[in-house]
């Protein structure tokens, strides 16, 4: 990767927001200052708070009173053995499932039970375990779709002659951001390709690029490294660290314990539907219950 592709942090954060777009302007400012704060290592804010989250499917309790927090500007890992309730927790936070009990707070606001699009709209965006590219749309179209609150998403503004001009104007701004993002992820040579023709790894990159263009504060990544070869894994990690430095916050659900331990500042371990322990990788490694949980032993919580 050549260094021309990587923008300095502040510039990149700004670049995700069209300069004179009225819609996301306030958000851009808060994020900008958030990025500066992160740079200064001021005590961190807590954008995502989950309290006593429970989800029951009939008689089965998949999540049983899980509570955790995700700090601003961190890579936080959410690990746990199969069936620990990671995915269900994830789906409850992102609005795909409605929790049976508990609250999810995002930037101080109670977002429990909101629809997925409302949650994404507030800046809490997600990716999927299996990349969900829009196959019969080109890579460019996939990315152009992502920015939220585009003027032209209103039918009348797209159709009526005297409002079409402002739509076209915003399209040009969005397009510049899209090409910058393509450059950043080194997938600009695929721009005109149908997303369905990409390789598995390219789809992962596309999905990450797409979700970044929604201008989120916090990104929830569902097993981003599943089925990814080692060299791409390295590339993805590089991108994640770079983005974290720019002020983005990540919560990553992952099976691979070593990968999480090596790359995350904070680790949350789930077991049997609740949070077993939470802390720095060193703390978690030192906790014997974690090892037992992974080996399938009985654990006292």
């Amino acid at each position: 990767m050549s260094d021309t592709d990587i923008d300095p942090p502040e510039e990149a954060v700004q670049a995700n927001v069209p300069e004179d777009a009225d819609v996301d302007y306030e958000k851009a400012e808060t994020q900008d200052s958030a990025a500066e704060e992160a740079a200064k290592h001021v005590p961190q804010a807590i954008p995502l708070q989950v309290e006593n989250l429970s989800k029951r499917f009939g008689g089965l309790t998949a999540v049983d009173g899980a509570s955790f927090e995700v700090e601003q500007g961190t890579l936080t890992g959410l690990i746990g053995p199969n069936g620990a309730g990671k995915s269900t927790t994830f789906n409850c936070v992102t609005g795909v499932l409605e929790p049976t009990a508990g609250t999810v707070r995002f930037n101080g606001e109670d977002i429990t039970g909101l629809a997925p699009h409302q949650i994404a709209d507030r800046g809490l965006a997600r990716t999927f375990q299996i990349a969900r590219e829009l196959g019969e749309m080109t890579v460019l179209e996939n990315l152009m779709l992502a920015p939220t609150h585009q003027r032209g998403e209103s039918l009348w503004r797209s159709v009526l002659p005297f409002t079409r001009g402002s739509v076209v104007e915003q399209e040009e701004e969005v397009l510049e951001d899209v090409w910058e993002t393509l450059d950043f992820f080194d997938i600009d040579h695929l721009a005109d390709e149908y997303a369905g023709n990409l390789s598995g790894g390219q789809r992962k990159l596309l999905e990450l690029a797409r979700v970044l263009l929604t201008d989120p504060d916090v990104l929830l990544l569902d097993e981003p490294f599943a089925g990814v070869n080692p060299s791409l894994e390295e590339r993805l990690l590089e991108h994640l660290h770079e983005l974290r430095e720019q002020g983005y916050t990540f919560l990553i659900v992952e099976h691979d314990m070593d990968l999480i331990m090596d790359n995350c500042e904070r680790v949350i371990v789930m077991h049997q539907g609740s949070v077993l322990t939470e802390g720095t990788p060193e703390d978690v490694k030192a906790d014997e219950r974690v090892l037992e949980a992974y080996l399938g032993g009985e654990v006292e919580t």
Partner: protein, 454 residues
């Protein structure tokens, strides 16, 4: 400069631009019909106007359906129901008023509100859109195949409801209106072409045209036929322009995304339910307007509607037209509509007429005296296929469905995306090539590198 190489691309793009493809195809179809028609001695005016009629109708119907299925992936197989709502509401709004209790006074059994035809057409479109909303609210939350079941059910419910004698005629504010029951409704509002020309303040043009036609051919009917054909072409251009504009916009981009993966689209902050409801209503409204144009039968005597015309057959014809052209492409929809109308819908009957004229055989009496057995016997005896071929020609109406079936099977096997499907019709209001506003050197190098990689 990175723009340098895109200029020749643009020039060649004009030559093969979408409207040019459509015009090329239409010219080809018209040439075939003109040549075949003139060989057979068919009046070119009636030949071309009736061809245009069906091309126009199928093209706009396929365009409306393409918005549902091609763009958004909404499986609507109740098209004819929405067309029916459109034409029935237009009839009630625009038929001449009949005083309550005086049923049967003017033309049909009941009258209407007597408002101008353009208002009736608008009302028909709005009513079809609202009917679409009614269907959409509960049904759009369902998976695609259940939406299909709901739409065809609703279209059948509509057909059976208008057949109901209890609402055949009722009084509203001293006027007798109604749905006509099993007898249907006469669309006896006068010459639609004249009314629509008047609405466009072109009444004088219409009058002078009819006077000229009267003088030249001795009949003003030709003006109505030509006028109707021109109106349909105008609607075709209007629908095409509107739907292209919708497709090439951020709105259209979200529609395509919903078609591809609704959950993923939702996760990007798009309120997919809102988009689906809006687009379903717009599509149904457009179908309602198609319904009015379809049944008004301008250029002939007054049109009429009755419930048997709203069986699902027409829905499936429109689907065939869309599949031939390629779902997802507006240009494909128009071309599919034109090809279907010219070669599958009208083609066989036209061919029958041409063969009739050419062979100078009286096919009618041939069909009456020859059964399948008599047609087959010469093949078995003396290998003479002519009687069987003639027999097939006389039965061409029945063979039409068989031919459509064969075409669909062939397409599904060899080109499931249709004629123009799977094209990169980028859903954006602008060209998506790399913007060249920044002239900074590094970017230009990166752009060139990117192009070479491809």
């Amino acid at each position: 400069m990175s723009v340098g190489d895109s200029v020749p691309d643009r020039v060649s793009a004009v030559g093969s631009s979408d409207p040019a493809k459509i015009i090329g195809l239409l010219v080809f179809i018209y040439a075939v019909y003109l040549v075949a028609g003139s060989i057979a001695g068919i009046n070119p005016v009636s030949n071309l106007t009736s061809l245009t009629r069906w091309i126009g109708l199928f093209a706009i119907a396929a365009l409306a359906l393409n918005l549902h299925w091609g763009y958004t992936g909404l499986f609507n197989i109740g098209v004819i129901g929405f067309m029916g709502v459109g034409v029935y509401v237009a009839a009630i709004v625009s038929k001449d008023p009949v005083a309550a209790g005086g049923g049967g006074a003017v033309g049909g059994a009941t009258g209407g509100l007597g408002l101008p035809l353009p208002i009736g057409m608008l009302a028909g479109a709005v009513a079809a859109a609202l009917f679409g909303l009614l269907v959409a609210l509960p049904a759009l939350r369902l998976r695609a195949d259940y939406l299909a079941i709901v739409t065809i059910a609703v279209s059948e419910i509509f057909r059976l409801s208008v057949r109901n004698g209890n609402i055949a005629s009722f009084d509203v504010g001293g006027l007798s209106v109604g749905f006509g029951g099993g007898d249907g409704l006469q669309l006896d509002w006068g010459s639609e072409v004249e009314l629509l020309f008047d609405a466009l303040l072109l009444g004088g043009v219409y009058d002078s045209l009819s006077a000229t036609a009267e003088r030249l051919i001795g009949s003003p009917v030709a003006v109505d036929r030509i006028g109707y054909a021109l109106i349909l072409l105008a609607f075709m251009i209007g629908y095409y322009a509107l739907l292209r504009r919708i497709g090439n916009s951020p709105f259209g981009r979200v529609l395509k995304a919903i078609r591809e993966d609704e959950e993923a689209t939702n996760s990007l902050g798009k309120d997919t339910d809102r988009f689906k409801i809006i687009v379903f209503m717009i599509g149904c409204g457009l179908m309602g307007l198609v319904g009015v144009l379809w049944f008004m039968n301008a250029g002939g005597g007054g049109g009429s509607v009755n419930p048997t015309q709203f069986r699902p057959d027409t829905t499936f014809y429109i689907w065939v037209a869309l599949i031939i052209g390629g779902a997802g492409s507006n240009t494909g929809s128009v071309m599919g509509g034109a090809l279907f109308a010219a070669f599958l819908y009208r083609g066989p009957r036209f061919l029958q007429t041409v063969i009739d004229k050419l062979t100078e055989t009286d096919l009618g009496s041939f069909a009456r005296r020859t059964g399948f057995g008599e047609a087959m016997a010469p093949i078995a005896g003396s290998f003479d296929p002519i009687p069987l071929l003639l027999y097939a020609v006389t039965k061409i109406q029945s063979l039409q469905l068989l031919i459509m079936g064969l075409v669909i099977i062939y397409l599904m096997q060899n080109r499931p995306q249709g004629l123009l499907g799977h094209r990169k019709e980028q859903a954006a209001a602008i060209s998506l090539s790399r913007p060249d506003r920044r002239s900074d050197g590094d970017r230009a190098v990166a752009a060139d590198g990117g192009a070479e990689d491809e």
